[in-house]
């Protein structure tokens, strides 16, 4: 069985300089020399986190596809590149990962939003989730920004709530990211809603434009709010159209 270094190195070859690869594997320490089929789920997470951080910064081309290809190899126990290996194999893996049903849809992530620092955490989680499912760099920044707005609304107005991230497939088979922000806060009164959508609402702390901004950023937007009960915002980002 090949080691992490051999398998991942084959995928990164040509896309990331040898020096950068060296430093990635150095940071992984003993994990780099571990055969792929002996990795624990925690090991895979450590490796993927390192790869996501480095590949995003240093890849010469399409980093989400590269990351997805690495993820596939790690999760498949190394069987993937047995057929191809090297650059051709990596390209094939990347293409396979970008297609729906490629095993990159995962269980939803539910993030508690209770403290101001949770906003930053939610933002980063959303970003890496967006990159992981293969959204473009710009789209991933949009996802993170929308999550930031929604999480901030929860902290400002409802004190606490949750943000849920879920990879979804639409009927045409393209992958997207669904964001569900829920709180049991005061809700938004119909009068205030009119002001918000009309652009005349001014909040004390923000610009009063958070919801409008999110609505403009996403592809699907649904707001369910009941005064005294709470608010749920559900929205979906699709991949490139």
């Amino acid at each position: 069985m090949k080691t992490v270094e051999q398998e991942i190195g084959a995928i990164l070859a040509g896309n990331i300089s040898a020096i950068t690869q060296r430093s990635i594997f150095n940071r992984l320490g003993g994990l780099a020399k571990t055969p792929i089929n002996q990795l624990s789920p925690g090991d895979r997470l450590t490796i993927m986190t390192e790869l996501e951080n480095s590949v995003r910064l240093f890849a010469r081309s399409n980093s989400p596809a590269l990351i997805a290809a690495c993820s596939r190899v790690l999760n498949s126990g190394g069987a993937m590149s047995a057929s191809g290996g090297g650059l051709a194999g990596a390209a094939a893996n990347a293409a396979a990962s970008a297609s729906p049903g490629g095993g990159i849809l995962s269980a939803p992530k539910k993030l508690p939003i209770e403290l101001e620092k949770d906003i930053a955490t939610a933002r980063l989680e959303a970003w890496s989730e967006a990159v992981r499912i293969g959204l473009s760099k710009f789209a991933s920044v949009k996802v993170a920004t929308a999550v930031s707005e929604l999480a901030r609304n929860i902290i400002f107005y409802a004190v606490k709530g949750t943000v849920e991230l879920r990879a979804v497939k639409d009927d045409r088979g393209s992958v997207g990211l669904q964001i569900i922000a829920t709180d049991q806060g005061p809700g938004i009164s119909p009068q205030k809603l009119d002001e918000i959508w009309g652009g005349t609402y001014k909040s004390q702390r923000g610009m009063g434009k958070g919801l409008v901004a999110v609505k403009k950023l996403v592809d699907d937007f649904h707001l369910d709010t009941r005064p005294g009960v709470g608010t749920t915002v559900t929205c979906v980002f699709r991949g490139e159209r």
Binding site: E116, F138, V141, S148, E149, R152, R205, M207, K209, A213
Partner: protein, 117 residues
């Protein structure tokens, strides 16, 4: 968790590099200490470097606008430098304006615009 952003003086210009998560307290402290420093050193301009900031949402935009407004009230100019392309695209799409500050591609160009070089 008290923190304060360092304000660096370059000639008669003040520079703040924003790298941490902005929250209300930090933003208000920065605004207050910037205004104080602008007056003390007769600063001609204030430059906020956001090149390390990966996400700017409407709340952070408002903070930047507020700082810009207060600095302009004192008669200095406020520059935001280093906005990342993806951040700029996102702000445009959201319909959020950075209208109370000037912008420059990087620190050099901001200093140039402030006629300091």
């Amino acid at each position: 968790m008290e923190q304060e952003l360092p304000i660096i003086q370059i000639r008669n210009c003040l520079l703040v590099s924003i790298q941490t998560e902005f929250h209300d307290r930090l933003a208000l402290d920065l605004q207050a200490s910037l205004m104080e420093r602008v007056r003390n050193v007769n600063a001609r301009g204030v430059i906020l470097d956001v090149s390390a900031v990966e996400i700017i949402d409407s709340y952070i935009t408002r903070i930047l606008n507020d700082i810009g407004k207060s600095v302009r009230f004192m008669g200095a100019d406020c520059f935001i430098v280093g906005i990342r392309p993806a951040v700029a695209m996102t702000l445009i799409e959201m319909g959020v304006e950075l209208d109370s500050v000037s912008t420059a591609l990087n620190l050099d160009l901001a200093l140039e615009k402030l006629e300091l070089l």
